[in-house]
Subunit: 139 residues, 2 copies
């Protein structure tokens, strides 16, 4: 049983959107690499702080998204930060494997160079290994 | 004169919200510290890539927000990245002084520790020095 009141201090500090969501940036502990940005609702915040495993809200699926539940690429929470306005979260995480559904470590693998968007990070894990052959977009 | 077409490749890759905005994460070059998250519209993206000085869209003021135009705390663009879905940007920047309007280096200065939100970063610059005594919330 989780005592929901235990999280009042942090939930009160977060300014959720009209849809009840807040953007959360995931940063790798140690390297400092930005892995991804996704959204959380109140339940996702409470579950993440309770379990220490990062849980987002999937806007496309309309449900809690326990990162790694399909792919195995779990994020373990190391630090949970709130910005000055309370409208963005920063999650410092230990990432199992890769964060991106394309099989790359980070979702931010395209960079603006010499007038084009260039791919600057290689695929480390074949997405078909992560998701089977169903073709999930996230997990 | 800027050739707007020169930026078609990047603008086409970005999925702006219905309001015409996209969240942009600012990360300090070198240290990798996450400084802030703010929003850009198409004009802000084009101006940032053209000038090399980061320009956001201020949702509260409803106008372009040339970071540092009031405070002097300019961000120089070092790398501009787009995520897999095109719905978030990552700006690697060289930050003059502090990023946060509270006078702290980063906006993410509150961390969840032992059941409370704890301030983990000191004020480096008195906000009254950054903004005079008018009390701006951002700049």
């Amino acid at each position: 049983m989780t005592d929901a009141n235990a999280f009042d201090a942090v939930l009160d500090a977060i300014r959720f959107t009209a849809d009840g969501l807040v953007p959360a940036i995931a940063q790798a502990e140690g390297s400092g690499e930005i892995l991804m940005m996704a959204w959380m609702n109140r339940d996702a915040v409470v579950e993440t702080l309770t379990t220490g495993r990062v849980c987002y809200w999937s806007r496309s699926r309309g449900g809690l998204w326990r990162k790694g539940e399909t792919s195995g690429q779990v994020q373990r929470l190391k630090d949970f930060r709130v910005d000055c306005d309370g409208d963005t979260l920063l999650l410092v995480v230990e990432q199992d494997g890769v964060a991106c559904h394309t099989g790359r470590r980070s979702c931010f693998y395209r960079a603006w160079r010499d007038g084009t968007l260039e791919v600057i990070q290689e695929v480390e894990t074949d997405p078909s290994v992560l998701y089977g052959h169903q073709g999930h977009s996230h997990g």
